[in-house]
C-alpha cells in the first residue's frame, strides 16, 4: 500500500520527522516499510498559465502557436499537443525552468516562430503514465477553470509528495486504509487521530422508497446496504482528489468511480456504484449463482458462474460478482443520474473463491478477503454520499436500504501486568501498560493489575491474550526488551551417532577427492526410475508423481540420486570441465504402496560419480583415467572408515554396464552397488566413461552401530605365503577369495590379490591369479606344520570348487 505523506499529515501530526525517520518508526512498531520515495528531480519554475489564444502554426501542420498568460507576462509558446485549446489553464514551464531529467527550458525558435517556454503533459512533469487520467495521456494536462494563473503547478499537482510503501502482513488488514495507517502512526508517535464522521444533507425521500434489500445467505453476506443518490452529474473529479488517487497509484477516471476508489483508500471499505436506472428492478437480492449462470462484467467479458460464487442481482439477473467485479449492464456512464451505492460485507472465503476462479484479484477483493471493520461498512457509504454531494452535485436520499446480520460487538481480552512481564522478560508497571493502551486507543477496565481490554472492531485480528501481548510489546518497543538466555533445563546438545557418521562420511569422501553437490529431489519420470539400488525394490511401485508439477522436468520423486548427479557431470562436461568427481548425501523416496497414497519410505544414500583423469601429472607424462577399481578403492576405503567389510558380486542394475557392475554386500545384506554407467546412457548424455557408486547409508548405519568391539593387537608373528592359481577366465577373484577364507579358517587372517595375468605362456581362456595369504593365531606362535596343513586344504578346496591348479 502506497501512503502519501501529504495526505497522512492532514490526519496525524507527523511534523518534526523526516520521511526516513517516520518509516523507521512505523517499521519498528508495526508495519514493514518496503520503500521510501522522496520527491526527487522535481520540476522547477512550472506555473499555471491561461491559454489566451491558440492558432495554427504558419509553418507546421501539427503545431499550435499560443499566447499564454502566466501571471506576470504573456508568453508566445509553440505547442505540439493535440488537445490544447484557447481558454485552458495549463502547466507552463517558463524560460529557465528545469524538467525531470535535467531538461532545461530556454527561449527558442520553432519553425521560424519564437517560443518562450513549454506547455507540459503530466508525464513531462514526472508522473507515471499508468497514473495519468486517460483524457490527458496523449496531450497536455488541463487544470480546472478556477485555477489561479501564475500558481506553482508542482504544488497544485502534489508532485512534492513523499510516498511510503507499506508491506502489510495478512493479520494487519486494518492497515490497508489511510484511516488504519493514521491510527497506527498516531499510536507509534503517541499523537492523536480520530476518523471523522461524515455528514451531508438528506432529503425527505427515503432510499427504501426506491430499493429493497434481501440477503439469501447471511453467512456469505452478513450485511448489505444500498444508498440511493440522485441528480448525479458525472464529470471530472476535483484536482485534490485526483492527486490523492495518483499518489496511491490509482488512475482517476470520473468523479463517481474516483469517489468509490477514494473511500476504498480512506476507509479500506470497497464500495460499488450501480446505475439504478439500468439496474432493471427496485430490489437487490444477493444469492449464490446458479451453476452455469452467466454475467457480462465491467471488462466486457462474459463469465460463467458456479454455485460457490455470490452474486448481486435485481431479483432475477446478476449485476455483480460480490466483492469481485460489477456487471457491464448496470455500469455508471456519462449520462447516469441515479446511483445505487453498495456498501456491503461479504465473507472473505466467498470473495476469495470468486476472485480466484475468475482471476480477478483487485484492491477491492483483497480487502474483502482479508476482512473489514464491521463498524465502518455503512459509514464508508455515508462518506461516499458526502463526497457525491460535494463533487457530483448529487442529492442523497434519506437512510439506507439494508439487511443486517453483522455482529458489531467489541471483543474483550483479559491480560495481567505480571503475565505480560513474564512472557516478555520485562518489568513494566501497570501504569505503563495503561499508557500503551491509551496510545492504541483501546478501551479497558483494570482492577488490581488485571485488564479487560475492549478491542476496537477495526482491529479484528486481536482475539487472544498473545495478540494483546504483541500489541503491548511492539508499542513498548522490541528494542527495549532485555537480552537474556533461557534458564531452561540444561541439555547437553550434540550430534547423534547417525549425524556424526554422516559428517564422517562426508569428510572421508572429500579427502578421497570427491566434492559435494546438492541436486534436485524432483526430476523427470525417466531419470527418477533409473539406476535404482537392488535392495530398495523401488521399481515395484514406481516413482511418486506430484499432483500439479510446475514442469515435467521436476515432476517425480527420485528413486536414485545418480541420474541427477550425472546431469551435473553432463552440465560440467559441456563446459569443458574434464575431470569430475562428485558425491551427494541425500534421500530417495520409495513408495511402499502401489497407489502412492501412503508416506513413502525415505532412504538416506551416499552416491558418487567420477569421470576423466584420476591421476594427471602433465610434465611427468603421468596420467591415469578413472576406472572401476579407482571407484572400488573409494568404496573399500569407506567401508574401512566405518569398520565394515564389503563383498562385491557381479550384478545388473538398470542403466549400468552389465559387465562392470558390482552389487555391494555387507554382513549378508545388499547395501548398494557400484560400477560403470551403461555406454548407451553415456552416449545419450554426452558423458565420458563414468563410474558411480550408490550406498544405503541407513543400512550401513545400522550395521555400524552393531560393530563396536575392540580387536586386540596380535602379540604373535604371522606367517605369509604366496600362491599363484591358474583358473578359467570367468572365475572371479572374489569367489576364490571366499573359498580360501572358508577353507583356511580359522588361521587365515588376510587374503590379497597381488597379480592377475593372462596372455603369453598361458593357455588361452585361462588366467593366473596370485594371492598373498596371511596366517595368524592370536594365542600362540604358529608351527610350520599347522600352516602346511591349512595351505594344503586351501589348495584342495580351490581345485575342487574352481578347477584351480597351482601355476608352475
Amino acid at each position: 500500500m502506497l501512503i502519501s505523506l501529504n495526505w497522512l499529515k492532514e490526519l496525524v501530526d507527523i511534523s518534526g520527522l523526516t520521511t526516513n525517520e517516520l518509516a523507521e518508526i512505523i517499521t519498528k512498531t508495526g508495519i514493514e516499510v518496503d520503500g521510501v520515495y522522496e520527491p526527487e528531480d522535481l520540476p522547477k519554475n512550472v506555473v499555471v498559465g491561461n491559454v489566451l489564444s491558440c492558432e495554427q502554426h504558419p509553418n507546421a501542420d501539427k503545431l499550435s502557436l499560443c499566447q499564454v498568460d502566466v501571471g506576470e507576462e504573456t508568453l508566445q509558446i509553440v505547442c505540439g499537443a493535440p488537445n490544447i485549446r484557447a481558454g485552458q489553464k495549463v502547466a507552463v514551464a517558463v524560460p529557465g525552468a528545469v524538467l525531470p531529467g535535467g531538461f532545461k527550458i530556454k527561449k527558442t525558435k520553432l519553425r521560424g516562430e519564437e517560443s518562450s517556454g513549454m506547455v507540459c503533459s503530466l508525464q513531462e512533469l514526472g508522473v507515471k503514465e499508468e497514473d495519468v487520467p486517460e483524457a490527458f495521456v496523449d496531450g497536455i494536462f488541463v487544470f480546472p477553470e478556477e485555477t489561479e494563473v501564475g500558481a506553482d503547478a508542482v504544488q497544485l499537482l502534489n508532485l512534492d509528495d513523499s510516498i511510503i510503501e507499506l508491506d502489510v502482513t495478512p493479520n494487519r488488514a486494518d492497515a490497508l486504509s489511510m484511516a488504519g495507517v493514521a491510527y497506527e502512526t498516531a499510536a507509534a508517535l503517541d499523537r492523536s487521530y480520530e476518523l471523522e464522521t461524515p455528514s451531508y444533507e438528506e432529503v425527505k425521500e427515503k432510499a427504501t422508497d426506491h430499493v429493497s434489500v434481501k440477503i439469501e445467505d447471511a453467512e456469505a453476506n452478513p450485511y448489505y446496504g444500498a444508498f440511493v443518490i440522485k441528480d448525479v452529474e458525472v464529470k471530472e473529479s476535483p484536482l485534490w482528489l485526483k492527486n490523492r488517487l495518483m499518489a496511491a497509484g490509482t488512475r482517476p477516471i470520473n468523479n463517481v468511480v474516483d469517489i468509490t476508489n477514494y473511500v476504498l483508500l480512506e476507509y479500506g471499505q470497497p464500495l460499488h456504484a450501480f446505475d439504478l436506472d439500468r439496474f432493471g428492478s427496485d430490489k437487490v437480492v444477493t444469492r449464490f449463482a446458479e451453476e452455469g449462470e452467466e454475467i457480462r462484467t465491467l471488462d466486457d467479458k462474459v463469465r460463467t458462474l458456479s454455485s460457490n460464487h455470490l452474486v448481486i442481482t435485481n431479483g432475477e439477473k446478476a449485476h455483480a460478482i460480490a466483492g469481485v467485479m460489477g456487471g457491464a449492464d448496470s455500469e455508471v456512464q456519462e449520462d447516469t443520474t441515479t446511483i445505487l451505492l453498495e456498501a456491503a460485507y461479504f465473507s472473505p472465503r466467498v470473495v476469495r473463491e470468486g476472485a480466484k476462479d475468475h482471476e480477478l484479484r483487485s484492491e477491492a477483493s483483497v480487502r474483502f478477503e482479508k476482512g473489514l471493520d464491521v463498524n465502518r461498512v455503512a459509514q464508508a457509504g455515508e462518506r461516499a454520499c458526502e463526497l457525491f454531494e460535494n463533487y457530483a452535485g448529487a442529492t442523497i436520499l434519506k437512510g439506507v436500504a439494508e439487511e443486517d446480520h453483522l455482529d458489531r460487538e467489541e471483543k474483550e481480552v483479559r491480560m495481567e501486568t505480571e503475565q505480560l512481564n513474564n512472557r516478555l522478560g520485562t518489568d513494566m508497571s501497570t501504569d505503563e501498560v495503561k499508557d500503551i493502551l491509551r496510545r492504541l486507543q483501546f478501551g479497558y477496565e483494570e482492577k488490581k493489575d488485571v485488564f479487560d481490554v475492549q478491542v476496537p472492531t477495526r482491529r479484528f485480528d486481536i482475539t487472544i491474550f498473545e495478540d494483546m501481548l504483541e500489541e503491548v510489546a511492539r508499542i513498548y518497543g522490541y528494542d527495549r526488551l532485555p537480552y537474556t538466555l533461557p534458564n531452561s533445563s540444561q541439555q547437553a546438545g550434540g550430534l547423534t551417532q547417525a549425524q556424526h557418521l554422516k559428517r564422517e562420511v562426508k569428510t572421508y569422501l572429500e579427502g578421497a577427492g570427491l566434492s559435494e553437490t546438492i541436486t534436485y529431489s524432483l526430476t523427470d519420470k525417466t531419470a527418477a526410475e533409473q539406476m535404482i539400488s537392488p535392495e530398495l525394490k523401488g521399481e515395484a511401485n514406481g516413482a511418486i508423481r506430484l499432483a500439479m508439477p510446475m514442469s515435467e522436468d521436476h515432476s517425480h520423486l527420485r528413486l536414485s540420486m545418480l541420474p541427477e548427479l550425472l546431469r551435473t557431470h553432463r552440465y560440467n562436461t559441456a563446459r569443458q570441465q574434464q575431470n569430475l568427481a562428485y558425491y551427494e548425501l541425500g534421500k530417495v523416496f520409495i513408495s511402499e504402496d502401489e497407489a502412492h497414497q501412503e508416506q513413502p519410505k525415505e532412504v538416506v544414500r551416499a552416491a558418487g560419480a567420477v569421470s576423466g583423469n584420476w591421476v594427471s601429472h602433465l610434465w611427468q607424462q603421468e596420467k591415469k583415467e578413472v576406472d572401476f577399481y579407482v571407484v572400488k578403492g573409494i568404496v573399500e576405503g569407506l567401508a574401512e572408515r566405518m569398520g565394515l567389510t564389503f563383498t562385491y558380486v557381479k550384478g545388473e542394475v538398470n542403466g549400468m554396464h552389465p559387465g562392470r557392475t558390482a552389487i555391494v554386500h555387507c554382513e549378508g545384506e545388499t547395501v548398494g552397488f557400484m560400477g560403470q554407467v551403461h555406454p548407451r546412457y553415456q552416449k545419450d548424455w554426452d558423458l565420458k566413461e563414468t563410474y558411480v557408486f550408490d550406498l544405503n547409508m541407513d543400512l550401513l548405519l545400522e550395521l555400524y552401530e552393531k560393530e563396536e568391539t575392540f580387536a586386540k593387537i596380535p602379540k604373535y608373528p604371522s606367517v605369509s605365503r604366496d600362491i599363484a592359481l591358474v583358473v578359467e577366465e570367468e572365475v572371479s577373484a572374489g569367489d576364490i577369495e571366499a573359498t580360501i577364507r572358508e577353507a583356511g579358517a580359522p588361521l587365515i587372517k588376510q587374503v590379497k590379490v597381488f597379480d592377475v595375468y593372462q596372455g603369453e605362456h598361458m593357455e588361452s581362456g585361462k588366467k593366473s591369479l596370485a594371492f598373498n595369504l596371511l596366517y595368524l593365531d592370536p594365542e600362540r606362535t604358529l608351527k610350520d606344520k599347522e600352516v602346511e596343513e591349512a595351505h594344503k586344504s586351501i589348495l584342495e578346496a580351490v581345485a575342487s570348487k574352481h578347477g584351480a591348479s597351482l601355476r608352475e
Binding site: P170, K370, L481, T484, S488, Q491, S515, S521
Partner: protein, 344 residues
C-alpha cells in the same frame, strides 16, 4: 735405512698428492702401508741394526707410516667432499615445477553454512532433529495453526502429491513431530535443518527446492527476551561481534507475537547503502513466541508452557556472506562455483 725411509716418505706423499680418485688413493694405501709394503720390509731388516739404532729407526718408521696415513686420510676426506659436491650438483632439480596433484574434494557451500549454524546451536545445548521431506497435510499445516482454508496456506505454493501428502514447505513439521513425542511434559530444545519445496518457477531469487533451518525451544517460563538473547548470540557469532540486531513486528500463523530479525548492515555500518536498500538493516530470519494453538495441539498446556521458534534460509545467509546474486548457483553445481568455497 734412515735414507730409505725418508725416500719412501717423499715418494708416497707425492703419490697421495697425485691421486685423483678414491680408488687411486686406496692403491697408495695398500702399496705403502700394506703388510707387504716397503715400510714393513724396512722394519723386517731391523735385526741387522745395533741395539742403539733399533729404537731410533723404529720410531722413524712409525712416524713415516703415520705421516703417509694422515696424508691419505686427509686426501680421502677432500676427495669425498668433492664427490659429494659433484653428486649434489647432479641431483639438483627445478623446484618450481608443479607437484603431483592430490585429488581433494570439498563440501558444498550450503553444507558448510548449515554445519556452521548447527555447531553454533549445538554449543547452546540444542539438538538437531530431522524429519520426512514428504509430509502429511496435518504436520505441514494443521498442527501449525494453519487449518484447511486458512488464507496464509496458499495451495498454489505447495507441491501436493495427494490431498493428504505433500512436499514439506518448511521444516516446521519436524518441530510439530518432536513436540508431539514429548507428551506435553518434557521441554524441547532443537533445530531442524533440511530441504524444503515450494511451487515456484526457478529464477534468480526463487528455487523450487531450497534449505531451511528452524529452531524451537519449549519449556516453562520461556520469555521473549530469551529469544532476543539467543538470536543475538547467533547473529554475532555468525556475522561478527560488532553486528547489532533489531526485531520488528511481523506475522506467521504459528507464532504470536511474530517478529523479523534484521542485522545491521556490514557494508555501510548502518548508514544505508544498496545492499540494505538504504535502510541500514538486513533481514535475516523470522521468529516469534510459539502460538498457544500450536502448543495445545502438541499436547502442552499453553498456560504453563511457552516457547519460541525461529527460521532462516541458509541460501540467503550464504548469498549475503559471499555476495552471491543468483540462488540457482546452489543447485546447478557448476564445478567452478563449488570449488570456490572448498577452503576450510
Amino acid at each position: 735405512m734412515k735414507e730409505r725411509l725418508q725416500e719412501l716418505e717423499t715418494e708416497a706423499l707425492g703419490k697421495v698428492e697425485k691421486s685423483g680418485t678414491i680408488d687411486e688413493l686406496k692403491q697408495v694405501r695398500v702399496e705403502y702401508l700394506g703388510k707387504k709394503g716397503p715400510i714393513t720390509e724396512v722394519l723386517r731388516g731391523m735385526g741387522k741394526l745395533s741395539k742403539e739404532e733399533r729404537p731410533v729407526i723404529g720410531q722413524l718408521a712409525n712416524d713415516v707410516r703415520e705421516k703417509i696415513s694422515d696424508a691419505i686420510d686427509e686426501k680421502q676426506t677432500k676427495l669425498e667432499d668433492e664427490a659429494l659436491e659433484e653428486q649434489l650438483k647432479e641431483e639438483s632439480i627445478d623446484v618450481t615445477l608443479p607437484g603431483r596433484p592430490v585429488q581433494v574434494g570439498g563440501p558444498h557451500l550450503l553444507t558448510s553454512i548449515i554445519e556452521e549454524i548447527e555447531d553454533l546451536f549445538l554449543g547452546m545445548g540444542f539438538e538437531i532433529k530431522e524429519g520426512p521431506e514428504v509430509e502429511t497435510d496435518y504436520y505441514n499445516f494443521e498442527a501449525l495453526n494453519l487449518p484447511k482454508g486458512h488464507p496464509a496456506r496458499d495451495m498454489q505454493d505447495t507441491f501436493y502429491i495427494t490431498e493428504e501428502l505433500l512436499m514439506r514447505t518448511h521444516t516446521s513439521p519436524v518441530q510439530a513431530r518432536t513436540m508431539g513425542q514429548k507428551n506435553g511434559t518434557e521441554p524441547v530444545k532443537m533445530i531442524c535443518p533440511g530441504k524444503v519445496y515450494r511451487r515456484d518457477t526457478d529464477d534468480a531469487t526463487h528455487s523450487h527446492q531450497f534449505t531451511q533451518i528452524e529452531g524451537l525451544l519449549v519449556d516453562e517460563n520461556v520469555r521473549m527476551s530469551d529469544l532476543k538473547g539467543v538470536l543475538q548470540t547467533f547473529a554475532q557469532k555468525m556475522f561478527g561481534a560488532e553486528r547489532e540486531i533489531r526485531l520488528r513486528p511481523s506475522f506467521f500463523p504459528f507464532t504470536e507475537p511474530s517478529v523479523e530479525m534484521d542485522i545491521s548492515c556490514k557494508m555501510c555500518g548502518g548508514e544505508g547503502c544498496s545492499v540494505c536498500k538504504g535502510t541500514g538493516w538486513i533481514e535475516i530470519l523470522g521468529a516469534g513466541m510459539v502460538h498457544p494453538n500450536v502448543l495445545e495441539m502438541a499436547g502442552y498446556d499453553s498456560e504453563k508452557y511457552s516457547g519460541f521458534a525461529f527460521g532462516m534460509g541458509p541460501e540467503r545467509i550464504a548469498m549475503l556472506k559471499h555476495g552471491i546474486d543468483d540462488i540457482r548457483h546452489f543447485y546447478t553445481n557448476d564445478v567452478r562455483f563449488l570449488s570456490q568455497y572448498h577452503k576450510a
